[in-house]
């Protein structure tokens, strides 16, 4: 055996030894943990997460971050002819038509927008998943019944549905949340049912059945956990939609009538009258809506990739 052969052989041995090693802390990696690990390596996910976290922090600490009282009007103190909303000294983003600080209103507005978005999405996910599990687990006539109902709800345009419900339940922020949630329910119900049906016919479900595992355990212990990832992704994406829809409903005047709670959509509606002279009054809240929605969408999209088993190592 030549020296060259020896060297090469040793190298192969080394490589082989390394290939057999499991890196420290890799034992027992769950789906969740490996997804998080992949998310951390994805720049898109990081951008999305940073945007979402920034807005959450702003919303949580609004009273400390806002430079002024979002409700205090400064107009009356210096009322004079020709006084128009817009930039003014001491107000970073200017004031609105009543002389209220725009920046403070945007900061406080994030609370309302995120709250409505999160609550309505959670509500939609919970109800939608309950219906989805019902249909996906039982099948048969239960499935038909639930899905026909969901189809009916789905066939009504979501904004029209939300408007009808807001009108029906009266004008308050809870009605707004419920209205948006109702439009989300069919999406989650369909999604979960579809993914449960696909999983129910899968080999491991049949294998579990062949081992005599009881049905409830198969549904909740095996099928459901495997069906959740599209729901998680959709929930993240739905947060963006919910925030936009909340703003749209406020814009249409169906939002929270309580003026003590500034809201981006309502601010947008309010700025309409001054669009030709002070477009920035509309641009800032619109930008907030867009950026938050973008943040959730980016996060959702990369979550979809991270949870996709095809990309698992």
């Amino acid at each position: 055996m030549t020296a060259l052969g020896d060297v090469r052989r040793r190298r192969i041995d080394e490589l082989a030894a390394r290939a057999g090693q499991v890196p420290e802390g890799e034992g027992g990696v769950s789906l969740t943990r490996s997804a998080i690990r992949r998310l951390r390596r994805d720049p898109v996910a990081i951008i999305g997460a940073v945007i979402v976290v920034v807005f959450l922090v702003v919303a949580a600490f609004a009273p400390f971050l806002a430079p002024r009282d979002p409700l205090a009007q400064t107009l009356l103190s210096e009322i004079r002819p020709g006084s128009i909303p817009g930039g003014r000294e001491g107000f970073p983003l200017g004031v609105d038509n009543l002389g209220r600080d725009l920046l403070s209103r945007l900061i406080y507005g994030s609370r309302q927008s995120l709250l409505i978005g999160v609550v309505s999405t959670v509500l939609g996910v919970v109800v939608g998943m309950a219906l989805g599990v019902l249909a996906g687990a039982f099948g048969g006539w239960v499935d038909t019944l639930v899905m026909r109902f969901v189809d009916i709800v789905l066939s009504i345009p979501s904004l029209l549905m939300a408007i009808s419900i807001s009108v029906l339940l009266g004008q308050n922020q809870y009605a707004l949340m419920i209205a948006i949630a109702v439009t989300q329910v069919p999406i989650f119900a369909r999604l979960l049912r579809g993914s449960m049906l696909a999983q129910r016919g899968s080999d491991y479900a049949v294998a579990a059945q062949a081992l005599g595992i009881r049905k409830s355990r198969i549904v909740f212990g095996h099928v459901l956990p495997n069906s959740l990832s599209p729901v998680i992704v959709q929930a993240t994406l739905s947060l963006a939609t919910a925030i936009i829809e909340a703003a749209a409903l406020s814009f249409l005047g169906l939002g929270d009538p309580d003026l003590a709670r500034p809201e981006w959509g309502a601010m947008l509606a309010n700025a309409q009258g001054f669009l030709s002279i002070r477009p920035e009054l509309a641009v800032y809240p619109a930008l907030c809506i867009i950026v938050v929605a973008l943040g959730f969408t980016l996060l959702g999209e990369s979550l979809r990739e991270a949870l996709d088993p095809k990309f698992r190592r």
Binding site: Y204, R217, P225
Partner: protein, 351 residues
């Protein structure tokens, strides 16, 4: 109908009699996937169900386990487990039998394990379902089960997920799960198809040991004649939903009578033929069948076929008949052998 005779001591664990499975779909013609299949397995015995894809061997096993969907499937005949009729039995009773008294190992070990659940949870789950033991005892039992099927470092493996195990380990884990409650009947549906050859040999050896050690009755479903040769006491060859030949493994390999069996054996690559010799396939494909009502389903592909194979004879389908001790045959023109089979091999007979 059932002509099971002899075999190892004891009454058969499983008796399948005239089993037929028909898939019906609205607006479409129904398909008879399994047609009049009968066989029996005694404790400690291994039988093979052999045939190509779509011949009904997997459907047979699912029907025995009661795992076929209710809707659109019609199962007739009789499946008796320890003398107890399983067809039409209540779901709860079937569920208690499955996993405890009868178990099944599937083809693809990766997809048969739940990817989101730890191995340990999946093994203990079976134990907790069928036995009155505590969670702690179940974990200990799971460790010894994994150890028994030859998984090294079983305690660590319990915390791992299926994707972290190799293909062979996964199949071992699945076998461990199916053996958790020492079933009296194990159905293995092509358990080695998804594995590479060396692992195949290990898994087969494991199954063989288990049968010998515990006296479990094993039904081996396979298209691999090598598996049959190494493992099965008796072999049923299936074609187009029917058993067409039954023999013990020595007889089958030495003197296949059905031309289809002969073709299967002839198509296996052999070490003693010269290099570059083309393989001998069976003509056509599984789609070239005629309904059994019109003759022999294999006739369109058969070299031995004669006119009466392709036509209905006296209104009866080709019967499965006695063909010597321990043998049964469904063929009008079987392969024949000289009285003294000196040097007559399967290969020679077919050519």
């Amino acid at each position: 109908m059932n002509s099971f005779q002899g075999g190892p001591a004891g009454a058969p664990v499983l008796e399948v009699d005239d089993l037929a499975v028909t898939f019906t779909r609205r607006g479409e013609q129904s398909t008879r996937a399994v047609d009049g299949v009968s066989f029996a397995v005694a404790p400690g015995e291994t039988i093979g169900l052999v045939g190509e894809s779509g011949c009904g061997k997997s459907v047979t096993s699912l029907a025995v386990m009661g795992l076929l969907p209710r809707r659109g499937v019609e199962v007739t005949g009789s499946v008796r487990f320890n003398g107890q009729e399983l067809l039409g039995a209540r779901d709860g009773m079937l569920r208690r039998l499955r996993g405890a008294d009868m178990a099944m190992v599937f083809q693809d070990p990766l997809s048969s394990l739940n990817p989101t659940v730890r191995i340990g949870t999946q093994v203990t789950e079976v134990l907790l379902e069928h036995r009155e033991i505590s969670k702690k005892e179940a974990v200990e039992e799971a460790v010894s089960l994994l150890d028994r099927v030859g998984i090294p470092d079983p305690r660590r493996r319990l915390d791992e997920y299926p994707h972290q195990l190799s293909g062979g380990m996964r199949q071992r884990a699945l076998i461990a799960m199916s053996l958790a409650c020492s079933p009296r009947l194990l159905i293995a549906d092509e358990p080695t198809t998804a594995l590479d050859v060396t692992i195949q040999a290990q898994i087969l050896e494991l199954l063989r040991e288990l049968v010998v050690d515990t006296g479990t009755a094993l039904v081996m479903i396979t298209h691999d004649l090598g598996v049959v040769a190494g493992l099965c006491d008796r072999v049923h060859v299936m074609y187009a939903g029917k058993i067409i030949e039954t023999a013990d493994r020595y007889d089958l390999f030495a003197r296949p009578r059905q031309p289809y069996t002969g073709g299967l054996l002839a198509s296996v690559p052999r070490l003693d033929t010269g290099r570059g010799t083309p393989l001998t396939p069976i003509r056509g494909s599984a789609r070239d069948t005629i309904p059994w009502e019109q003759g022999c389903a294999f006739a369109p592909r058969c070299d031995n076929a004669q006119d009466d194979c392709l036509t209905e004879v006296s209104g009866a389908i080709v019967p499965l008949e006695y063909d010597g001790p321990g043998r049964e045959l469904r063929c009008r023109h079987p392969l024949t052998y000289p009285a003294a089979p000196a040097g007559a091999t399967a290969l020679g007979a077919v050519r």
